[in-house]
């Protein structure tokens, strides 16, 4: 049987941008009961140990999105997360840190400006010209509503955004929460600026094509929204609505079909030259030479009339399925 309470050490990130030169960690020990949430522990630090300890919270019901932090590197909504569950996962020392250490204002409080700016960019609202004196309400069928999937449940906590490694290394990247919102309003039948959002999210560097597909956002979201699922849907919508432009990323996605039609497998050499163009290939020459030496690729891989890729059995089935099931084109 699980114990009713456990002794826990909270190793807590502390920093005050106004007075501190460097951040430091303070340890607090406490007995934690089986029903306590991480937010209860933050409250106890403030109320019982150090009144200057700072963090955000408001609703305590998992709906305002204020209390997102990281515990042992894991994105956590403090008011939703049972503390002993994390002790079970990580042991008796819990590392309490803000969502992003480089954006800290004070302790757990970060400056979320980048998050809100990017969120605002995708027009996260139904944009349409409405009749100021409508005669009836705007109706939506259940099927139309269901297109949102779960994207409407976002509470803008920022957990996915600050868990995303691309947000961390590329300041232009809009990030999973903004993409989720872009999807949410683009598929809304009352909205009229979907194409604008698709074009925005199709841009290189800032858009969905820079996603590394790590699924950190899906794991981080306390509302189980799965932002990367919406990212895939945005990719598909860009092709469906003819917004996708020919570039390295779109050719890379679409180019898989070339190899699959011919061999059933991806043609690894062809996908690089097709995506990048022969001139673009130039930058891979050094790596290619090394792979050649190691036997990872063969000298004839790039020569179109020599087939270096094995063929799958019953290739004709794949060819036929592609013909009858393909729904998009570049």
């Amino acid at each position: 049987m699980k114990p009713d309470s456990v002794k826990v050490t909270l190793k807590t990130f502390r920093f005050n941008a106004e007075t501190d030169y460097l951040p430091y960690y303070k340890h607090y020990e406490m007995k934690v009961g089986k029903d306590e949430l991480i937010l209860d522990l933050l409250n106890r630090i403030k109320w019982e140990h150090d009144g200057s300890f700072s963090y955000r919270r408001s609703c305590r019901h998992g709906i305002c999105g204020a209390c997102g932090i990281k515990v042992n590197g894991r994105a956590t909504l403090a008011c939703k997360q049972n503390a002993l569950e994390l002790v079970e996962l990580f042991g008796n020392e819990l590392l309490i840190e803000p969502q992003s250490k480089k954006r800290v204002v004070k302790d757990m409080i970060i400056d979320k400006k980048d998050f809100w700016d990017k969120h605002a960019k995708v027009k996260p609202y139904v944009a349409t010209d409405i009749d100021p004196h409508p005669e009836h309400e705007t109706k939506q069928s259940i099927e139309e509503f269901n297109k949102f999937l779960d994207s409407d449940l976002c509470i803008q906590c920022g957990n996915c955004h600050y868990a995303c490694p691309v947000v961390e290394v590329n300041e232009n990247y809009l990030g999973p929460a903004a993409f989720n919102a872009a999807y949410r309003f683009t598929v809304d039948t009352r909205d009229e600026v979907g194409e604008e959002r698709l074009k925005l999210t199709a841009q290189m560097e800032s858009g969905v094509w820079d996603c590394v597909k790590c699924f950190e956002c899906a794991e981080a979201c306390p509302k189980e929204i799965n932002p990367i699922e919406k990212i895939t849907k945005l990719h598909n919508l860009q092709f469906e609505q003819g917004v996708a432009e020919r570039n390295i990323a779109t050719r890379h996605a679409e180019g898989f079909l070339r190899g699959m039609k011919k061999y059933g497998y991806l043609d690894e050499a062809d996908i690089v030259s097709y995506s990048e163009g022969y001139l673009g290939m130039y930058k891979h020459l050094k790596t290619a030479a090394k792979m050649l030496r190691a036997g990872k690729i063969h000298w004839h891989s790039g020569i179109p009339f020599i087939n270096s890729v094995p063929k799958i059995k019953n290739l004709n089935e794949v060819q036929k399925l592609i013909k009858i099931s393909q729904t998009n084109k570049l």
Binding site: N72, G73, R74, L89, F90, P165, V169, N170, M204, W209, D210, C211, V212, K213, C214, F215, A218, E219, N226, T232, K233, H235, N236, F239, A249, T250, H252, A253, F256, L257, G259, M260, G264, Y265, L266, E268, V272, S275, E276, T287, K290, M291, A294, G295, K296, V309, P310, I312, N314, E317, V318, K320, L321, I322, I324, S325, Q326, T327, N328, L330
Partner: protein, 297 residues
């Protein structure tokens, strides 16, 4: 224990740029007495890119692959994290959405196939741990890996989204994964603990967002090196390709010399089981790795 028998979905990479992955997998299975039937009919899983172009088509093609494992009445096993995820995502989508399943089956019927949902999909790593068992592996070790500090690199698509994988990967937690660590310990190697072991290698944006890709790979490699790793091991050939073949570029971007052999999970097991040099295939690596074999031989 009755003999384990799996249908192997090789994926494209093991058939092309990482032949050593296929040979070492087959060698490990042979040594452990696991029967493998290769799914010669299986096509590419879409590698998470075809899905972006046309999700429905990707479901149809992945469902077709699974049909062939179903025909044999076997669990379909994968040796690539991305193959695992994409096949499992299709299985999940079809098993939970009857309308989609019907739409997909309508297409499959045209080639005489039907997706039923009867086969499990599991990565070979979890077959070894959950089904074959670490104790059984321990009993067959010929060459303990005790002289190596080994950095486990898990790769995203085996551990996230955890909800999807939990039935296939022994409830591994993506924030505190343990399978590879336990496997290394069972082979008597020393697992390296480092913060980046469950992070992304950046492979999937190598072409379009090169800088992001190099920084992510670099952060992980440097973290492993700074924690005294002699080598890195991964269950994903795409992580292997990123980490092994681009070490110079990665080092250049992050301003460090990066030199670290990156082994496929089955290669590490094959080393400990005393498989032949040819089966293990360390000569196929860009970053010199053959010395690992000489050290154990």
């Amino acid at each position: 224990m009755s003999q384990l028998h799996y249908a192997l979905f090789t994926g494209c990479t093991a058939k092309q740029s990482t032949p050593e992955l296929l040979s070492s997998t087959l060698a490990v299975a042979k040594k452990l007495g696991i029967k493998i039937t290769i799914l010669e009919e299986a096509s590419c899983c879409g590698a998470s890119h075809l899905q972006d172009f046309d999700e429905f088509l990707a479901h149809v093609l992945n469902a077709r692959n699974i049909c062939y494992a179903e025909k044999l009445g076997l669990t379909m096993i994968t040796i690539c994290n991305t193959c695992q995820l994409n096949s499992a995502m299709t299985k999940h989508a079809l098993d939970t959405d009857p309308k989609l399943k019907a739409r997909v089956n309508e297409k499959l019927a045209e080639v005489g196939l039907e997706y039923k949902g009867t086969s499990e999909i599991k990565h070979f790593l979890y077959c070894l741990i959950d089904e074959y068992g670490l104790d059984n592996i321990k009993n067959r070790i010929k060459v303990p890996l005790s002289q190596f500090n080994i950095a486990p690199f898990y790769g995203c698509h085996n551990i996230r989204p955890s909800e999807l994988h939990n039935n296939a990967n022994g409830k591994e937690n993506p924030y505190n994964p343990t399978s590879l660590d336990k496997l290394i310990e069972a082979l008597e190697g020393h697992p390296v603990d480092y913060a980046h072991k469950n992070k992304c290698c950046g492979f999937h944006v190598e072409l379009q967002a090169n800088h992001t890709s190099e920084v992510l790979a670099g952060n992980a490699m440097v973290d492993a090196i700074d924690n005294n790793a002699d080598l890195m091991v991964t269950p994903c050939p795409l992580c292997h390709l990123k980490m092994d073949t681009y070490q110079d570029d990665v080092g250049h971007v992050i301003g460090r010399d990066v030199e670290l052999p990156v082994l496929h999970m089955p290669q590490m097991v094959a080393l400990a089981l005393g498989c032949t040099e040819k089966e293990i295939g360390l000569n196929f690596h860009v970053q010199k790795a053959t010395h690992l074999y000489s050290k154990t031989a």
